[in-house]
Subunit: 360 residues, 3 copies
């Protein structure tokens, strides 16, 4: 377990009992919130690690599928918990925030950290192109129901809107399945990195039982800590004077993706830029094309009412611009420290704006 | 004639008498509409074929000009008929729809069909770059009068708006003439395909009289069938519960461009990607830079009032996104089946949205 | 001095006394305005020339810094004068206009002039990529406060808005300083042109005293003539039936950047495309990332109230589209006459729209 949590985050598991203690003693919401947030980071890494171990027993195709599907499991769990509580606005904010955090923050810090060690870092452009157009498609798709909502706001078009969102979710999931088929089966050569295999070479190999048990236990823990996290989110916002959108976009999003972001950054520091970028971009795509539509369909069964993909306009414009920017910055197959600065600056500026908007 | 209609569409000519019969017997509007629509496909192919035959007698430059100008003759005829009837909204919808159908549907199906036969298909990027920036310029230009309309909606700025649209139409036509000059005269080398000449090698050669007569007869037929088509369009929408914008964007647009789209797809199946893409993109450009401004100017003489290029906002945003997406997807000179899927998915999603919007 | 003003603009200095005479005799506002405008062109060139001379005494890094910082000194002076007069709308319009004039007009004319002499002109793509993403970042940043303003228009969020704008200005200036560091220190190799050094080879070298005195005198003259220019601007608009936004976007912007634009065009005519493009794009970036935020901060001390970066929506959309277009058109490292036409056409069309809008 230590090896999987190697980048020095296993000690964060201590925040599991701390969070429970804080919750039981009715500590203030922000304390519970941030404690639960910290505890989810190593749990997420455990989920990722045990999935990778399982993948070793399944062969490449199923393994790729497992990794892809469980790659954003923590985000999914947090979102489902918030969905159950009917916090649709916060769910959407956390989805948008996760995409922004991956495209701008994780990739930006990766470029910056890598760029301070190496003058230029080269990577394979073919996969970047696929990722970029996937992201653009995802964002265009998410624009549709939001635009529809804006256009029909005053008219009683609720039924149409729900139908449109369901159909859209199904189309996106079909697109996602074909994307996996493309990536794992027909054009796996596009996604080969030049810099060597995934993960570390001398990693221990777990028994299949151990991998499965770890996955199940970690998932249960993640669900439990997400309950604490989401339960404290709104009150945390009130205490700190932040809107629930801001809490969702910044904090929930970063917590859910922290484990993956740390991987992306440590890969960049080792000059494995292909891996670094594919983690950050691949994760964004899964959120937009798998997690988001899956949540729409789940909302029929889990939550109080159907959740539609109607993002507030600032988030939508932000997503669109982040995708265009990331495509432009990453698109020439060579990174340096200043590209990292550029991405981080835009993340900062967008965060500032969301912080200062009274309500969205 | 059979050779020109070779991809097996000449039997569709049977829909000419069928449509006339349906019209005379006052059949239901959708029957007339779809019958007339089917009859226009082979007529459009005849127009294209006779233009190509004429071009053989004129030398490259004039031939290029002829092909370019008559390339979207069917769209133009349908639009003029709708213009005469004062259906400005439907004309604009059919123009936007024709661009979307070319960029997303025709190119998407081409990539998909080609991609199922060949693992990757390569093509010349230089011409794609020219086409992409032309399309972006066209869309930016079309944004201007629509934005102007939105901004001045409440003020009585009608006269200014008409003037702006006329000036804009003139500027676009100047841009189009210079584009032809660039493409045919100064930089013809950019547009040479690597995969061989236009059309099939062993095609018969017509006499100039035959070519001219075919062109004239086919044009008259096209105009006549367009009258039936447009006359039945609005009622068809009402019967099927579709808005007239949806009818224009989807049905009118696909009918007008079907012949060209079929060519583009069959070129892709023969691995002639340069030709395939240049048909789809070239056609979009002609619609935006030639057909659209020409219709504005014609509307002074043909219709009840001047038609301005004020597209409804969803169409405008859709056009902008389709152009950016097509540029990104097609821009690296190599296609595969999944790129086709991406483009088709976005076309589907946009279509879904337009279907569900009550009125635009 | 003649050598510096070589492209035949030194005789324009005659407009300094002419403008003063017109002002003293209370001539009509447009006369004063255009006379002062013409006089600023050679003054701006003197500022640029003396800065280059100074740079010869300082070593590469400081020299680069000097050139970068004083590159848009004329624009800055005009803007400060307008800021003092509280003409915030005109300042913002002149900033947006300066970016548009550089990206579309100066680059367009450069491509056109160069393209009439040479079939194709090649240039280094690496620096273009950096410039393009910098411009996109700049425009995204400028979108934030404007979007914020639109979203909170009805609510009394003035204090938040001022704070957001100040923070944004600071973040942009930090980004600008790091950009200079990147460009001058760590990655100077990216910006090496293949076509030889800056400026003309056999240029005379000034004494440091002469350079300093010229710089100071020219700056004082620029400030003085800007007073006349700005003082006559609003009345000129009224007399000619133009909005103050139009005056700012077109006239103030072109005047401030004329000297640099002339350099860019004359470099293109000499087939030094790297220099030509880096002047046009570099200048846009400095305006967005240095002049604009600097003016926000200065407005705390100079003007009647804080100036926020809330651009009217047509300018914002125009900026965004101009950046995407310029990136697409310039991005393949090869220019021709028609690319120039494309850029100029869009500038014309945008200008037309701004002319016809009653008020923005």
């Amino acid at each position: 377990m230590k090896k999987i949590l190697k980048p020095g985050i296993h000690w964060l598991l201590i925040f599991i009992p701390i969070s429970i203690f804080l919750e039981k003693t009715h500590a203030s919401a922000p304390l519970i919130f941030f404690s639960a947030a910290l505890s989810i980071v190593p749990i997420a890494r455990l989920i990722g690690g045990s999935t990778e171990q399982l993948a070793k027993y399944t062969g490449d195709a199923v393994g790729g599928l497992l990794n892809a599907t469980f790659g954003n499991f923590p985000e999914l769990i947090i979102a489902i918990v918030a969905l159950k509580a009917g916090l649709h606005g916060m769910v959407l904010a956390s989805l948008a925030g996760a995409i922004l955090a991956n495209l701008l923050l994780a990739m930006g810090v990766s470029f910056l950290v890598g760029g301070t060690k190496f003058h230029n870092q080269d990577y394979n452009v073919t996969s970047i192109r696929v990722y970029s157009s996937m992201m653009l498609i995802a964002v265009i798709s998410l624009t549709i129901p939001s635009g529809f909502h804006l256009l029909t706001a005053e008219k009683p078009a609720l039924e149409n809107e729900n139908t449109l969102n369901l159909y859209l979710a199904v189309v996106l999931l079909i697109g996602y399945v074909l994307y996996l088929f493309f990536m794992i089966k027909t054009h796996a050569d596009f996604f080969k990195s030049e810099s060597g295999g995934h993960g570390d070479e001398h990693e221990e190999k777990w028994s299949i039982t151990r991998a499965l048990i770890t996955l199940v236990v970690a998932s249960v823990l993640a669900a439990f800590m997400s309950e604490l996290l989401v339960g404290a989110a709104e009150e945390t916002g009130q205490v700190l004077g932040m809107s629930s959108v801001f809490i969702g976009v910044i904090f929930l999003a970063i917590v859910g993706g922290a484990a993956e972001s740390i991987s992306a950054i440590s890969m960049a520091a080792k000059n494995k830029m292909d891996l670094s970028i594919s983690i950050a971009l691949g994760s964004s795509i899964q959120i937009a094309l798998f997690v988001a539509p899956a949540l729409v369909i789940m909302s029929l069964f889990v939550g109080p009412s159907q959740m539609n993909l109607t993002f507030p306009r600032p988030l939508l414009v932000g997503l669109f611009m982040a995708v265009i920017l990331a495509a432009m910055v990453a698109g020439d197959g060579r990174s340096n420290w200043y590209k990292g600065v550029q991405l981080i600056l835009i993340y900062l500026i967008m965060g500032m704006m969301l912080y200062f908007i009274p309500t969205i």
